[in-house]
């Protein structure tokens, strides 16, 4: 039985629509595993938002490999977040006009111009994050070429998760004005920061890119469940599992769907740098080493412990004696990181 994502479609759509309506200039982001919802679903949803008249005319994808999958389901512009490089694949001519390229190095624009005449381009400005992007002195001559030989769609800047400091954004705006750009594509700016920028730069269009807040903003609309595939009673000292461990106390072994192939048990590093959370991580690591760590599976609202590290498609969980023993076929709720989980089945409830 599969690891399953159940979407309360009405509730989810309501959130997505409300979010789009409250976010002028919104550019939905559909990349990677589509925030657990798949690129296809997000592309359809973006098309729906566009049809609703929310002004959502552009969808951002992560890489060139993701373009085609959304292009057949969404009719607007597709903005590729990964900067164009000489080794980037050619775009299918049928949709080339809908694709907006990100240029993050001055040397790349002339090469793209050789490959595709009059391409749509966004120029990336480097921020304090220092991932991709040009310095202002590289940006301005590049923008002059973009104005002349390409369709210059604006400047993009990426801020870290905390957003930019408003002082930094303002400094960046001098670089933007210097490039004579009229659209700025931004990520991770708070509504307040955006409002202040819009007030001062009414002659500039700000387009916030949003993934998580848009698609996963209403967690209550999403439920992830695994199925109990087997239950075995366990006496103290019994051996079990791939590694032949001995049970330290009596209870039940529960085998449930969902394993490393789905992303279960794989943890992305926490972005948190606080001492307390680091200490917790160390403590968790200690439990991991003893084969005891808290699993994302819950029974009756209580977290279960892994009996051993998850397998590829299923996990073995330890149920202490005295707890209610679930039936085979029963569903367990699972808390997952959506961006790192693939589901066997997505069910749209409405």
């Amino acid at each position: 039985m599969p690891l399953k994502l159940t979407v309360d479609s009405d509730r989810w759509r309501k959130h997505v629509q409300a979010f789009a309506e409250a976010t002028p200039g919104l550019v939905p982001v559909a990349k990677g595993n589509g925030y657990g919802l798949t690129l296809r679903k997000l592309a359809h949803q973006t098309e729906w938002l566009n049809e609703l008249g929310t002004g959502v005319d552009t969808l951002a994808v992560g890489t060139y490999n993701e373009v085609w999958e959304v292009a057949t389901r969404f009719s607007g512009s597709i903005y590729v977040l990964t900067p164009w490089r000489p080794y980037s694949p050619d775009i299918n001519p049928e949709i080339a006009d809908r694709v907006i390229h990100t240029i993050s190095r001055p040397e790349d624009l002339p090469l793209l111009l050789e490959r595709q005449p009059n391409p749509r381009v966004i120029l990336e400005l480097v921020t304090s994050m220092r991932r991709h992007g040009m310095t202002p002195s590289d940006l301005w001559p590049t923008s002059a070429i973009a104005h002349e030989r390409a369709r210059f769609e604006g400047v993009t800047m990426h801020f870290g998760l905390d957003g930019g400091s408003l002082a930094e954004v303002r400094a960046q705006m001098d670089a933007v004005v210097g490039a004579e750009a009229t659209t700025v594509w931004v990520s991770h700016l708070s509504a307040n920061e955006l409002a202040q920028l819009r007030a001062s730069y009414g002659d500039v269009i700000f387009r916030p890119r949003v993934g998580t807040g848009l698609w996963l903003g209403d967690r209550g609309a999403l439920t992830v469940t695994a199925t109990v595939e087997d239950v075995h009673p366990l006496e103290r000292g019994y051996s079990y599992g791939y590694r032949g461990r001995n049970a330290m106390r009596a209870g039940h072994l529960v085998v449930a769907s969902g394993g490393t192939a789905h992303g279960i048990g794989l943890e992305a590093p926490l972005g948190d740098t606080h001492l307390r959370s680091r200490a917790l991580a160390v403590a968790r690591g200690g439990l991991d080493a003893m084969g005891q760590s808290r699993s994302p599976y819950t029974l009756d609202g209580k977290a279960l412990w892994f009996a051993e590290p998850p397998h590829m498609q299923e996990s073995m969980l330890m149920l202490p004696s005295g707890a209610r023993v679930p039936e085979v076929g029963e569903e367990l709720e699972v808390r997952v990181r959506y961006t790192a989980t693939s589901f066997d089945e997505i069910i749209l409830d409405s």
Binding site: P136, S137, A171, A175, V177, G178, A199
Partner: protein, 387 residues
Amino acid sequence: MSLTVRPITAAEHLAFIEKQPSVSFLQTPSWARVKTEWRSESVGWFDDLQGGALVGAALVLHRPVPKLERFTLAYLPEGPSIDWSGDLAPWLEPLASYLKKNGAFGIRIGPPVTTATWSAAQVKDGIADDTVQRLGQLTPTHRDAIGARVVSQLRAAGWKLQSPEDGFGAGQPQYNFVIPLAHEDGTPKTEDEVLKGMNQLWRRNIKKSAKMGVEVTVASPTNPANGDFEGDLSAFHDLYVHTAQRDHFTPRQRSYFSTMFWAMSSEDPDRIKLFLARHEGDLVAATILVRVGQHAWYSYGASSTEKRDVRGSNALQWAMIQDAMAAGATTYDLRGITPTLSTDDSHVGLIQFKVGTGGQAVEYAGEWDLPLNKPIYTAFDVYMKRR
């Protein structure tokens, strides 16, 4: 481009300025003779690739700091006059090393580039709108890409913006109010067009002053045909001291104005003019007009408390605008405004007076410092902030 900076004579400097459409009067060699308390020099940029042609110039005022006699802050008010449109490092780096070698612990410049302009109507609406506190909260009618690049480059190169957030600081104002005397395509405006840009009150007051028989005369030390200049200057100064008492500011000495008129007039007889408005023999207002090339500035003003209804100040402004237009000026500059548009701000009346002329609010890049000797610059900065 390979540029060298070295001292130039006042004559070379003046010849360079005369070839430029617009240079601040604070960057003329004669301004050095007005600022007698500071050592000063003219410096030039020479392009070695263009056969050593003089391609830029600046007046540097060396401002000494108490207890640090050996070191000065090199101050280039509203300057230098260089090509601001491209990469600035080739211009500013040789300037910095020249000044450092000559004892400067820091440089202060005021790039004469605008970053944004707002129309008079926008400023007026901004004052009326309670949610708008500052000019920067309003979208400008025009934003200048070159100005933005200057600001961005200065910041990246370690220069520090000195212009205060609000109000007037010690330096030159970052926000000015100007009346364009030419259309965007460069063709001169007619007097009618400039008058039409003014609000009804201004037009009415200009008309009224003429009807009430206000007479405007112009005096300059190099034109004896205009009568007794020293007498006129004394009359101006008396009225100016009166204005200072009424409006609570500290007046400058008569000798300051005398030096200013003689120094600037000897450089160019049309550089500076004293305008006087009299009604039935009584001096009701007096102002000073300065012009360099196509840029004219209203720089000092005085007015009587009596006979305000004859509108001497409006008569003088209009006379100065007409004079500037006749001389081929494209900009009439009413000088600084504060960027605050809040009606609680004490400066808002000044903005409202200037806004009535039509014209536009202009934001400049502001004044920027580059520390050349960090410990001394820091000490200076602390000293200035405590003062």
